[in-house]
């Protein structure tokens, strides 16, 4: 324990949390983004984890963050749209949660509307079609709990609970959710051998004249497997959901959504911002033959006028095999990330 003998609230010193950064991340990426006003601590992370799984954050005490962000599904769920506490459904697929400390734009959600992880955590609680509560009510419930006041005292030096500290704790827990131990990672480390099909699939992924996936979805040198940027990837000719455009008000951003990481696709179906594709085969078919032309389509979707990159059936199968080599089983079964 690193607290002093004094019983005054402001003298407890939380223990700094040592983030376990995979070797491949240390070698290839810049340092993760940890806000100076919310450093990771053992107490803060533990509190954030408890809050993440606590149904007290919802209006009728039936849902927690984990209801839509299940650790077994790489912190998303299996449905196209998630149902809230009142049985209402949203219009976006629940995003997986991992490696968020490397999102240097600090824009979160499919459309980038949430600036900062702490601010993102504010939104679902008060959203009427999600947890349908309000922060005063949540803070009051936690304040009356027998454990939380002490846990907040240990994490933040005060037992007075409010939305700022709750979201800080949740953000701390989310920042330790790191996925970096897939078969492909082990292959790069020299500890695993890819099958010929997986290797061929990687080449399809990296080949400018075939998949050309790497410009938006990382590479062996960017193990996030995303550029964390926003693109119109050609899903629709006309937009029912403006995506980033609704956030920025710039028509040039209409139809743009965040490139998701390609890690853990085995656990994160359905795919795309609206979960329209149930399988990886559907996703690959879309990029191969299903692109739709619109005014804001990204020029990196180079074969849009031919409908897509026109992969052969073998290329498609190989690409799928490679993508599944980015599956991190350890991440979804890590007891530190489970309730």
């Amino acid at each position: 324990m690193s607290c002093s003998n004094s019983e005054t609230e402001d003298e407890y010193i939380p223990i700094p949390y040592s983030l376990e950064v995979p070797q491949i991340f240390q070698e290839k990426l810049i340092e993760p983004l940890i806000p100076t006003n919310n450093p990771l601590t053992e107490e803060g992370v533990a509190l954030g984890k408890k809050l993440f799984f606590d149904t007290k954050l919802s209006g009728n005490n039936t849902q927690s963050c984990a209801s839509c962000h299940n650790p077994r599904n790489a912190f998303t769920d299996e449905t196209r749209f998630s149902d809230g506490v009142d049985g209402n459904f949203g219009t976006r697929n629940s995003m997986p949660i991992f490696n968020l400390a490397w999102n240097f734009s600090d824009r979160f959600a499919w459309d980038g509307k949430e600036l900062g992880l702490e601010r993102q955590a504010l939104e679902p609680v008060k959203n009427p079609i999600e947890m349908h509560s309000n922060w005063d009510e949540v803070a009051s419930k936690l304040q009356q709990d027998t454990q939380y006041p002490t846990l907040f005292l240990e994490a933040f030096g005060t037992s007075t609970i409010d939305s700022t500290l709750i979201t800080k704790a949740i953000a701390q827990f989310e920042r330790i959710l790191i996925s970096g131990n897939s078969k492909f990672d082990q292959h790069l480390a020299g500890n695993a051998t890819l099958t010929l099909q997986e290797l061929n699939g990687f080449n399809v992924f990296m080949d400018e004249t075939k998949g050309d996936c790497f410009h938006c979805h990382g590479s062996d040198n960017n193990p996030l497997w995303t550029d964390n940027d926003f693109h119109n990837n050609g899903l629709d000719a006309t937009f029912t959901d403006l995506g980033l455009g609704a956030v920025t008000g710039d028509p040039n951003d209409n139809g743009k959504f965040r490139s998701p990481s390609l890690r853990n696709l085995a656990f994160t179906a359905p795919y795309m911002h609206d979960g329209r594709f149930a399988t990886l085969e559907e996703v690959i078919d879309f990029y191969s033959e299903g692109l739709q032309i619109s005014s804001t389509i990204d020029p990196l979707m180079k074969k849009v006028n031919q409908g897509g990159v026109q992969l052969t059936p073998q290329d498609k199968a190989d690409l799928k095999a490679f993508l599944l080599s980015l599956t991190d089983n350890e991440f979804v079964s890590n007891p530190n990330f489970q309730n």
Partner: protein, 255 residues
């Protein structure tokens, strides 16, 4: 004259940079490179992106949607003949308005330099696959199957093609890599000599990239012929390299 001699001695100390009792009075400083962009005589910023408002020398209407490029290897030749090469590099990201101003991190001794140059892209020596964590994070890499390392430039947009349809182009400059002769890639980065610079306490070198020149001199660029898949197009990379020679100019040097 004493001051000038002192400066020369300082340069010698800096280049060697192993003295432990350096008591030279001149204070090492950084120099700042500022990058602006134009289409001919007209200034271009990211506010001009995403609309088909430009016409290239081939008569094609084009838009700019992404533009970022790498600057490295600043070389300063002091009038004494001492050459200082800085390891700095900088990603100029016009799309996101980042990296347009870049101050060298390594200290430079004030004085008269007969030439200052920088490199567009990376030399072979510095184009080491996967070692620059910031560029990896920015997904600026080149696939190993095309030689690895990094892009020199990513420039994407759209144009009106010969069938009057809007089509994408990806003017990506990397080393020219002949897939039939993979052991002999051609480095397509190039040096730009800024000329003589008197480096003082607040030296700003203001540079401009005329984007239209990528399509113009000496090769009139036909996007209908060269629009996408140019990274793996050896001939296109050599043509880009030739056109790159005229894109940068020095606007001014201020103190």
């Amino acid at each position: 004259m004493k001051i000038r001699i002192l400066a020369v001695l300082c340069v010698a100390f800096f280049v060697n940079s192993c003295s432990e009792d350096n008591d030279i009075n001149a204070v090492p400083i950084g120099i700042t490179l500022n990058f602006s962009h134009s289409w001919g005589e007209n200034e271009v910023t990211n506010a001009d992106f995403n609309t088909l408002k430009f016409t290239n020398d081939n008569g094609d209407q084009i838009s700019i949607e992404h533009l970022r490029y790498l600057i490295s290897e600043i070389v300063l030749t002091h009038e004494s003949g001492v050459i200082t090469t800085l390891d700095d590099y900088n990603l100029v990201d016009v799309t996101n308005n980042e990296g347009l101003t870049f101050t060298t991190s390594a200290a430079i001794i004030p004085g008269d330099y007969t030439s200052v140059s920088f490199r567009f892209g990376f030399s072979d020596e510095n184009n080491i696959d996967g070692v620059y964590t910031d560029l990896n994070t920015a997904s600026f890499n080149v696939p190993t199957i095309l030689g690895g390392g990094y892009h020199h430039m990513q420039f994407d947009g759209k144009y009106i093609d010969d069938s009057d349809a809007e089509a994408p182009f990806n003017y990506h400059v990397i080393n020219a890599f002949d897939l039939t002769n993979i052991n002999d890639p051609v480095n397509t980065s190039f040096q730009l000599n800024i000329g003589a610079v008197a480096v003082g306490g607040n030296t700003n070198i203001n540079l401009n990239m005329d984007i239209s020149e990528w399509f113009k001199t000496p090769n009139t660029w036909n996007l209908n012929e060269y629009d996408v898949n140019l990274m793996s197009n050896y001939e296109a990379q050599l043509l880009m390299n030739q056109n790159g020679a005229s894109v940068f100019s020095v606007i001014s040097i201020t103190q």
